[in-house]
C-alpha cells in the first residue's frame, strides 16, 4: 500500500478514536474567551498546550469538562465520535474524560478513599457493588507509586493539602479512574522538581495507545519529563502555532512575543 494511502486508511480506521475540537467559541459573562479554537488529540498521543497567562487554557479545560459558567456559541467537540457538548458534566467523566484541575477544590468531611470509591461506584451498573478489598489494594499501590503517604486516604479531599499534595492527588484520581482522555491543567505549577518527576513518571506510565493526553502548561520544564508528540501555542483564544516538541524549547528561548510577532500582519 502506498504510504499516503496507508495513512488515510489508518486515519479512517481511527477516525472516531480522537478528541476533536473544531472552531470552538466560548464566552463567560458575555466575554468571548475562546475564539475559534481547533485542535485534535488522537488516542495514543500526548499534546501540549502552551500559552501566556489569560490566553484561555483553563477556559478550554473547563469548557471541555462542561462547566456551566461557560457558554459555547459555536463549534463542535467530539470524543470518540460522541458529541461531547451534549453530555452532562458527569456523563463526560464517565465517558472517559478526566480533568486534573489547576486549582483542585476541597471537599470538607469527605475522605479521599470515600470520594474515589464513590467515583468508581458511579461507573458501575446499578446494583453492582465495588469490591472494597480490591479497591484498597489498587489505591495503595498507586499511592505508593506517587510517593503519597497512605494516611491521605483518610483525609478529606484536598482539605488542608499543600499545593503539591493537591496536584499529586489529582494524578492519583486520574490513575484510579483510568480515563480515555486526560487534560492536565498546569499540573506542574506548585510542584518542586522531585515531585514534578514523580508526577511525570506517573503520567508516562499511563501513556498508551488507548489514551490521549492534553497537557496544559505555562513552562516548558514539564515537557522535559512528559515529552509531547505535538505542541500547540494558544494565544487569545486560538491555536496560533502547532509543531513538534522542539517548539516548546523555542518558545522558552524566545518568549511568547516571538510567536505573536511572527504572526502579526506586516
Amino acid at each position: 500500500m502506498p504510504r499516503k494511502e496507508r495513512r488515510n486508511w489508518l486515519n479512517f480506521n481511527n477516525m472516531s478514536q480522537t478528541l476533536n475540537i473544531q472552531n470552538l467559541h466560548a464566552s463567560v459573562d458575555g466575554n468571548e474567551i475562546l475564539k475559534g479554537l481547533t485542535l485534535e488529540v488522537p488516542k495514543g498521543e500526548v499534546h501540549a498546550i502552551m500559552g501566556p497567562n489569560g490566553s484561555g487554557k483553563s477556559t478550554l479545560s473547563k469548557v471541555l469538562a462542561g462547566h456551566e459558567d461557560y457558554e459555547v456559541s459555536e463549534g463542535l467537540v467530539t470524543m470518540d465520535g460522541v458529541d461531547l457538548l451534549e453530555l452532562e458534566i458527569d456523563e463526560r467523566s464517565r465517558a472517559g474524560l478526566f480533568l486534573a484541575f489547576q486549582y483542585p477544590h476541597e471537599i470538607p468531611g469527605v475522605t479521599n478513599a470515600n470520594f474515589l470509591r464513590a467515583a468508581l461506584q458511579a461507573r458501575l451498573p446499578k446494583g453492582e457493588e465495588i469490591d472494597a478489598v480490591g479497591f484498597y489494594k489498587d489505591m495503595y499501590a498507586k499511592m505508593d507509586s506517587l510517593n503519597m503517604d497512605r494516611k491521605f486516604t483518610g483525609r478529606a479531599v484536598n482539605d488542608g493539602f499543600s499545593g503539591g499534595e493537591k496536584k499529586r492527588n489529582e494524578i492519583l484520581q486520574m490513575m484510579m479512574l483510568d480515563p480515555n482522555y486526560a487534560i492536565l491543567d498546569e499540573t506542574d505549577s506548585g510542584l518542586d522538581i522531585d515531585a514534578l518527576k514523580i508526577v511525570a513518571e506517573g503520567v508516562n506510565r499511563m501513556r498508551s495507545p488507548e489514551r490521549g493526553f492534553l497537557v496544559i502548561t505555562h513552562y516548558q520544564r514539564l515537557l522535559d519529563y512528559i515529552v509531547p508528540d505535538v505542541v500547540h501555542v494558544l494565544f487569545d483564544g486560538r491555536i496560533i502555532k502547532t509543531g513538534g516538541k522542539e517548539l516548546a524549547l523555542e518558545l522558552e528561548e524566545k518568549g511568547y512575543d516571538w510567536v505573536t510577532q511572527e504572526l502579526a500582519p506586516a
Binding site: 456551566e68 458534566i89 458527569d90 467523566s93 477544590h105 471537599i107 470538607p108 469527605v110 458511579a122
Partner: protein, 471 residues
Amino acid sequence: MADSATLEAVNIDQDAGDFTYPEDYEHDAGYGLTTETIDYISDIKKEADWIREFRHRALKVFNDKPMPTHWASKDLENIVFDNIRYYLSKGQKPTRSWDEVPDDVKETFERLGIPEKERKFLAGVEAQFDSEAAYSNVKEELEKEGVIFVNSTEGLREHPELFRKWFGKVIPTGDNKFSALNSAVFSGGSFIYVPPGVKVAHPLQAYFRINAENFGQFERTLIIVDEGAEVTYMEGCTAPKFETATLHSAVVELVAMKDAKIQYITVQNWSNNVFNLVTKRGMAHENAEIRWIDCNIGSRLTMKYPGVIMKGRKARGEVISIALANDGQHQDTGAKMIHAADETTSNVVSKSISVGEGRSTYRGQVHIPKHLKGCKNNTECDALLINSNSRTDTYPAITVRGNQHATQHEASVSQVSEEQIFYMQQRGLSEGEAMSLSVNGFVNDLVREFPMEYSVELKRLIDMEMEGSVG
C-alpha cells in the same frame, strides 16, 4: 399474609415511610379536644383517679397558655386543634410475638424493617401504631436482671409507685403549651427502668408510627436509670404523606441517678405535613451522663430543644444534633443546658443543612448561675446552605454568671459551592450524588459518634433527601 383487598388498599410511594393502611380502629376519640376526650382516653385505659385528674389539670393549662408565636414560627397558628383526633387504637394489648400483631400493623413494621433490626442488634423493641403499642418485647436476660421496658400505659398500671415518683418531675405540665397538651392526652411511649449497676449492652428501640390522617400522636416516655446503670435508647418515627396536617407532640423525661449513663438517639423521618413539637429533657444526678443524639429529617415544622439539668456535682450533659430542612420545612432545634451543681460539663454540637427554601434555626440556652464553681460549656453550631434561597438563623443564649467557669462558643455558616459540585461531577458523580456526599461530609464527624446501624440509616435518609432535591 393480608388478603389481596388489603394489599390493593395500600398506597405505596417511593419513600420508605410513605404508605398507609385503611383505618380499622376499635377506639376513636373523635375530632377535637374537650374534657370528654380526656375521660374517653382515661376510661379506655382504666386509669387511676390521680392520673385522670392530672390530665384534666393539664388540659386547663393547655387552654390557658397562648401559642409561643412571639418568638416561634407563625406556622403554629395553622394547627387546627379541632380537626385532630386525639386517640386511635385497635383496643388490643401489645403482644410479645410479632405473629400475634394484627396483619396491617405487622406488615407496617416489617416494611420499616423493625423485626429484622430486632433480630440483628436490639435488646428490646416497642412498636407503637398511632396511639398504642402493638408490640413490646425485651430480651429475657434483661428482664431477669430487673430491667423494665414497657409502654407508658402498662408502666402506669404495673409500676405505679416508680412511675408516679418521677412522672412530670423533669418536665412539668406547664413547661410549654405542647408539654401541657401532651400531659392532657398522652398515650403510648416507653417506660424504662434500669436497676442499679445494670449495663444494658444493646440498644432498646422504640418505633413510633402514625398511620391515620387527621390524627395526633402524643407519646410519653419516662426513662429512669438507677445508680451506676447504663442504657442506650433509640427511637425512630415515620408517617405517611397526607394532604392535611398531622400533629406529633411527645414528652420525654430522663432521669440518670448517680454515676448512671443514658444515651438517647432519635432518627426521625417525618413526612412534610407533620407538626413535630416535642419536649425532651433529662436530669443528671452526681457524676451521671445524659447524651441526646438527635437527627431531625422531614416534618413541616419541628420545634425541639433537648435539654439536660445537671443537678449533681460533675454531671455531664450533651446534645449532638443534625437537622435537615428541605423545601417547605422548618427545623427549629437546639439545646438547653441547665447547670445546677459545681463542676458540671455540657457540650452542644449542632449541624444543620438547609436545602432549597428550607429553613433551619438553632436556639440554644446555656445557664450557669453565679454561685457555682468550675462549670464548663462548649457550644458549636454549624449551618450548611445548599442553595442561595436556603435559610439559617442562630439564637444562642448563653447566660454565665460568675467568673469561675469556662465557656466556648463557635458558629459557622458555609455553603456547598458550585465549584465543589463541579469538581465532584467531573469525577463522575451525578449532581445528586455530589450533593449527598457533600452533605454527608458535613455531618461526618458527628455521625461517627453514632452506633453503626444508625449511621447507615442516617446516611440513607440524607441520600434520599438530597437525591430528591436536585433537578
